[in-house]
Amino acid sequence: MHIMEGFLPIEHAVGWSVAAAPFVAWGIRSVNRRIRENPEQRMLLGVAAAFTFVLSALKLPSVTGSCSHPTGTGLGAVLFGPAAMAPIGAVVLLFQALLLAHGGLTTLGANIFSMAVVGPFAAYGIFALARRLKASLAVSVFLAASLADLLTYVTTSVQLAWAFPDPVGGFGASFLKFAGIFALTQIPLAISEGLLTVVICNALARFNPQELQDLGVAPAPEVRA
């Protein structure tokens, strides 16, 4: 869920931009280092950003019957790493504001923080943890993509509740209100996106293992005697 233009008070808008900026700067630095070592990756981020943008414009059949749009943060974090997702996500969110009027320029910092920082880091951490606990690839990918979606939406609810505490119940009541209203769309979306990401990974592993290896994306399988 993108927070729309002008919705946050000015001090919150500035504060979230300041909070998101170091992550984007750090992402750019790590990307620059990667490009120096590996110059053929120079074009990768721009193309990856377009991929994330196009993916997020797909119409996904949601479990409740309505249609929703995936965020693509989980898949992106697993494919490109969470550090690279901060600048990629920043550009994608800027483009969504400029080309689709989803989100906004004053709320860009808050949206970057929830969708391009919290989401990818959560996805990557959950994916690594699940793999370490010997979960299968499908389960790990499902958990990473769907929990990243849920954490993104919880972050957005926290941002809204912090900016607008309830006059009666304060922060807690306001958080429950926002989280409750957006849960109607966001929980089905998280489940659908988790399923879609599993289907994507299965299709990649089934049809294109050789290409992925040649491109240096997936590690070569162990040779067993």
Binding site: H2, M4, E5, G6, F7, I28, V31, N32, P39, E40, R42, M43, L44, L45, G46, V47, A48, A49, A50, F51, F53, V54, L58, P61, L75, P87, I88, A90, V91, V92, F95, L98, L100, A101, G104, T106, L160, F164, D166, P167, V168, G169, K177, I181, S192, L195, L196, V198, V199, I200, C201, N202, A203, L204, F207, N208, E211, L212, L215, V217
Partner: protein
């Protein structure tokens, strides 16, 4: 994309992007300045919408269709601001309703300012404007590549979708999900293939630095920026006096 259509076809397409950016900045500032009084905030939003539709000749229907998703978000968020949960029951408090009105009008004003900018200015002009504002070169490169590849991917997606539909890939929900997954998987692979091809193409042209293109020329940039600055200032003062 509806915004693209209007950005290239409106009457103010040739006006310098810095002028339109300045006016949009004035619009956002006015929306935040006027926020304390909902009526003044509504006035700012209406004025900005009138300038976009009347001045730049953006079709009102397209304007509404572009604004609809944001308005939907605004409606449910304002509703949840207006009511309070109190001991299991819902109630609308005076403080909550006032807050909802303030936030809704401020968002409407800021949204109208954003729409003015994006509906009159193509993205390539906005990227040129960001370059003048000293945005890091890495981010600009990502934007330029992203903007171009967006349409390449959209075309690839459309072809794949047509092929899948022709083979009954969208017959029921489970098959639709599987088709979508296969489509996204193929697109994922193209990320590396296309970026590799782009890299080779750049090397073949001796390019290993930032990607630069000729921008559009704006002979009256100074005059445009001056007029826009005066208009922006007037808007902010109007909002200030109206609150």
């Amino acid at each position: 994309m509806l915004i693209e259509q209007s950005a290239y076809a409106n009457r103010w397409r040739g006006v310098a992007p810095q002028a339109k950016g300045l006016f949009a900045l004035g619009g956002v500032t006015a929306a935040f300045v006027a926020a304390a009084t909902p009526a003044a905030g509504l006035g700012v939003a209406a004025l900005l919408a009138a300038v976009t539709i009347g001045g730049a000749r953006v079709s009102p229907l397209l304007y509404l269709r572009v604004a609809a998703p944001a308005l939907f978000f605004l409606a449910i968020s304002a509703l949840s601001l207006a009511v309070s949960v109190d001991g299991g029951g819902l109630q609308a408090t005076a403080a909550g309703t006032h807050q909802a009105a303030v936030v809704a009008t401020r968002s409407l004003g800021a949204l109208a300012a954003l729409l003015f900018l994006v509906l009159t200015t193509p993205l390539s002009d906005l990227i040129a404007l960001l370059r003048r504002l000293r945005t890091p070169e890495v981010l600009l490169d990502i934007m330029v590549l992203c903007y171009r590849t967006l349409f390449v991917f959209a075309a690839a997606l459309q072809d794949m979708r047509a092929a899948q539909a022709a083979r009954l890939g969208h017959l029921d929900r489970s098959r639709l999900l599987r088709s979508l997954g296969q489509m996204a998987a193929h697109l994922t692979l193209q990320v590396w293939q296309r970026s590799h091809a782009l890299h080779l193409a750049a090397l073949a042209r001796n390019n290993d630095g930032p990607l630069r293109f000729l921008g559009s020329r704006h002979p009256h940039a100074r005059r445009d920026a001056g007029l826009a600055g005066v208009a922006a200032l007037a808007l902010v003062l109007l909002a200030w006096s109206g609150r």
